[in-house]
């Protein structure tokens, strides 16, 4: 029943996430190292997104895109270092859940944007409407 089997018959450590505390032969020290690495990366990404706004490092119309890229990287860091998402077989459910979640979010947000922007499709252009109505 248990999905916590990271060690195979020869005692080799399987594919575990950085900082995975429960894994066998994994000292607390290594665990803390993993969390620290995650913290540093997350902090760096946060600082980078603030820096970008206040300096001229990035061409200003590109700032929005850069923020999106940094945000996605931030999500990745959190998933790997703090939520311990890996590609190991014991993590299939988590990866599938993440994929399902992303799919639903994309469908609902994308669909909503499309629908809400389409609502003026059948409207008369504003200038004509004022002419006919009054």
């Amino acid at each position: 029943m248990t999905d916590e089997q990271h060690v195979d018959d020869e005692g080799n450590l399987g594919d575990v996430a950085p900082g995975f505390m429960d894994a066998a032969d994994h000292s607390i020290r290594e665990g803390i190292q993993g969390y620290l690495m995650g913290f540093v990366l997350a902090a760096l990404l946060t600082v980078a997104s603030f820096l970008m706004l206040h300096t001229n490092l990035i061409w200003s119309p590109g700032i929005a895109v850069a923020l999106v890229v940094l945000a996605i990287a931030q999500i990745g860091v959190h998933l790997v270092f703090f939520l311990h998402l890996t590609t190991a077989p014991d993590n299939t459910n988590n990866v599938l859940a993440l994929a399902f979640g992303i799919l639903i979010v994309v469908l609902i947000i994308g669909g909503s944007i499309w629908i809400m922007n389409h609502l003026d499709e059948r409207m008369m252009p504003m200038d004509q409407m004022t002419q006919t109505d009054r």
């Binding site: 029943m1 999905d3 459910n93 399902f100 979640g101 799919l103 639903i104 469908l107 609902i108 669909g111 909503s112 499309w114 629908i115 809400m116 389409h118 609502l119 003026d120 499709e121 059948r122 409207m123």
Partner: protein
């Protein structure tokens, strides 16, 4: 908060302490709700008094209220669903009779009361009747079918139930204290905004749904975890009974969709309480966003309700046809297909909102396509029955009534999925007839089929067949007499939610629909009689073996009612129909499997956490509705303290000693051995003889 209207001035000083709550909240001037509310209140007091006087309170507290046993919680969910079904049915009687009287007249319900009745009917039927019935049956059957002892988070489960009960309580409280929403079962702004609904009705609706919504979300998490992580040894995904698959799909939908509902209603709450402008007509708000978001939850919700029912029908049809389910893998595929595509069709609820042809076409086609998944299922059920030895028991009759009636409702649904047709039928009685056709025939028939099917497992005796069959016949008759006229009325141009009307051509159809509700009353009487007759004749209806229907999945291998630990030893699953295999092996070798080595079993301890949390949530909800801010703080603090207290408890499991396990299981084995000695040979010959000649 400037939009808040001036409330009646209250002469006594304590008024500020109670926010908006004054004696004006009690509807002394409206006899109908007051009388109904008082009656319910008296019945409630009488029941509580009876429980206390007869000394049943300790039993109720220890065995039910604080129970974390999935079977008990499932039964309580189902009872809640049935009681609320009755409450919603009373609303239905009021609406049908009002319309029957309201030709060129006012009827007996004034418009503001009629608006509350139809809003309450929809809200109660979906959230507090259909949802608890489906979640209750999943609670009862899924862990048993998976061959395990309980769900992944038992105390969570109890909390989910009591939070749902909190929502139901708040909705019903609105009958006597204040008013209920008049803004329909989905409170579309701007009508539901403070400016147009200044009373507490919409707040009752919103807080009841927010609180019970948390419970539903917890259920979703609980069941997905249970199904993905806790199964009997050998129970791979493709060996799970189909009901577990539909439960998995339903709970995935709950996890994905209910946060959307919570967020949408949360935005409406921000509009109403702190002056935000998400959905207002001014200051940049857009009420159409509410319609868009609420249906992004609303359409998956339809499948959250109907998928478990599909699972129940699959189990019932397979069992009573004496055959494995036809096309098991296609059934799984169709279920997961529906699970995904249900997120691609939500616009069909508002084709007329004004999106252009491209958007409407895409969502219309997606809607027509999702019917393919259901179509696959219908054919699978028919092929399961084909060539089987069908036993026409009550659950099977519900399933047959479902296949016929639901297909009709599905066809009108495909018709409505064509945008030009929808433009004609939108908001008409045709639509009302359509969704009642699918929800009654799908969810309600499914719930009744599931209840009659698993009742002997839950209580140890079968339900009375005669009254059950009468209930099926009258329900189907009542359904057609009520809703076929509504289809006709829709085609004649009658819109929904009319308090009175003056079109002569509608009259006969409205009266026919009113007559249908009388037939439904007969069906209800049969259901009550079925329960009464079954309890009185329980000795002759007793299920001794634990397998009253010659079942195929694991829940029938344990005793009826099952012991708290479900299985003395976790079953080892070797195929798609594990119990059928065990049974066949026992019949062929003429003996039971060797007695296992009994070991002590650890079971989760009962906990009042759920009940007390829900109590404080009720206080918080009530206080939020009436703007009693100190009480809000008190309720939230109480709920948090309960959580901390629960987190700090040091004993969370109880050990059932091996001797006790052995005693319970040996009693079961003794009955099985007797059954094997007396009946198995004949049954084996009957089944196999039939097969060879066929």
């Amino acid at each position: 908060m400037s939009a808040e209207p001036a409330r009646a001035c209250v002469p006594w000083a304590a008024a500020d302490m109670l926010g908006k709550l004054t004696w004006n909240a009690i509807p002394f001037d409206q006899p109908i709700p007051l009388a109904a509310g008082s009656l319910v209140f008296l019945v409630l007091i009488a029941v509580i008094a009876w429980v206390i006087i007869r000394g049943h309170l300790p039993y109720l507290w220890h065995e039910w209220i604080t129970s974390v046993d999935h079977k008990r919680i499932g039964v309580m969910y189902t009872i809640l669903g049935l009681v609320m079904l009755l409450r919603g049915f009373v609303d239905a009687i009021m609406m049908r009779s009002q319309q029957a009287f309201a030709f060129h007249a006012g009827g007996y319900l004034p418009p503001e009361h009629y608006d509350q009745v139809f809003s309450a009917h929809g809200t109660i039927m979906i959230f507090f009747a259909a949802m608890p019935l489906m979640i209750g049956l999943m609670n009862f059957a899924v862990p048993l079918q998976l061959g395990v002892r309980d769900v992944a988070f038992p105390t969570f489960n109890s909390t989910s139930f009591w939070l749902t009960a909190t929502g139901a309580l708040l909705v019903n409280l609105s009958l006597v204290v204040g008013e209920f929403s008049r803004a329909m079962w989905l409170p579309y702004p701007p009508l539901s905004e403070l400016r147009y609904s200044p009373g507490v009705g919409v707040d009752y609706y919103l807080w009841a749904l927010q609180i019970s919504g948390v419970g539903t979300l917890l259920t979703g998490i609980n069941f997905v975890t249970t199904i993905l992580k806790i199964r009997a040894p050998g129970m791979s995904y493709l060996r799970m009974p189909i009901f577990c698959w539909t439960a998995l799909a339903t709970n995935l939908l709950i996890i994905a969709a209910f946060p959307v509902l919570t967020a949408t209603l949360g935005m409406l709450l921000l509009d109403r309480y702190v002056g935000f402008h998400f959905f207002t007509n001014s200051a940049g708000g857009n009420m159409m966003m509410f319609v868009n978001l609420i249906w992004a939850w609303g359409h998956p919700e339809v499948y959250i309700l109907v998928l478990p029912a599909f699972g129940i029908f699959s189990e019932v049809i397979s069992t009573f046809s004496g055959k494995p389910l036809f096309g098991y893998r296609s059934m799984v595929a169709a279920t997961m297909f529906i699970c995904l595509v249900s997120f691609l069709v939500w616009l069909h609820h508002f084709f007329t909102m004004g999106a252009g042809g491209n958007v409407n076409a895409v969502f219309g086609i997606a809607t027509a396509i999702i019917a393919v998944g259901t179509g696959v299922k219908i054919y699978n059920w028919m092929f399961t029955m084909y060539g089987g030895r069908i036993r026409f028991t009550t659950p099977m009759l519900w399933a047959l009534a479902f296949v016929l009636t639901f297909t009709l409702g599905g066809m009108t649904g495909v018709l409505l999925s064509v945008p030009p047709a929808d433009f004609q039928l939108h908001n008409s009685m045709f639509l009302v007839a359509h969704f009642h056709n699918v929800i009654i025939a799908g969810v309600l028939f499914g719930a009744f089929a599931g209840i009659t099917y698993w009742f002997p497992k839950a209580f140890g005796f079968r339900l009375h067949e005669g009254w059950g069959k009468a209930a099926v016949v009258l329900t189907v008759a009542g359904f057609y007499t009520t809703f076929v006229p509504l289809y006709a009325l829709g085609l004649l141009g009658m819109t929904r939610r009319l308090q009175s009307y003056d079109v002569a051509a509608w009259r006969p159809w409205v009266i026919a629909a009113g007559a249908g509700i009388i037939v439904f009353c007969g069906a209800l009487a049969c259901q009550v009689m079925q329960l009464v007759a079954s309890i009185r004749q329980r000795e002759s209806l007793r299920d001794l073996t634990g397998d009253p229907w010659n079942g195929r999945s694991l829940e029938w291998s344990t005793a009826s009612p099952p012991p708290a630990f479900n299985y003395a030893v976790l079953p080892n699953v070797e195929g798609e129909e594990p119990y059928w295999q065990i049974k066949r092996r026992a019949i062929e070798t003429q003996q039971l499997a060797a007695e296992p080595d009994y070991k002590p079993i650890e079971m989760p301890r009962n906990s009042p956490t759920g009940f007390i949390t829900a109590f404080f949530c009720t206080v918080t909800g009530f206080a939020l509705i009436w703007h009693i801010w100190w009480m809000v703080g008190l309720g939230l603090l109480g709920a948090y303290v309960v959580f901390v207290w629960f987190a700090w408890r040091d004993r969370d499991e109880e050990v059932i000693p091996a001797e006790e396990v052995a005693r319970v299981d040996r009693a079961r084995r003794r009955v099985r051995a007797q059954w094997l000695a007396h009946n198995a040979r004949e049954e084996w010959l009957a089944v196999h003889g039939q097969r060879e000649t066929a």
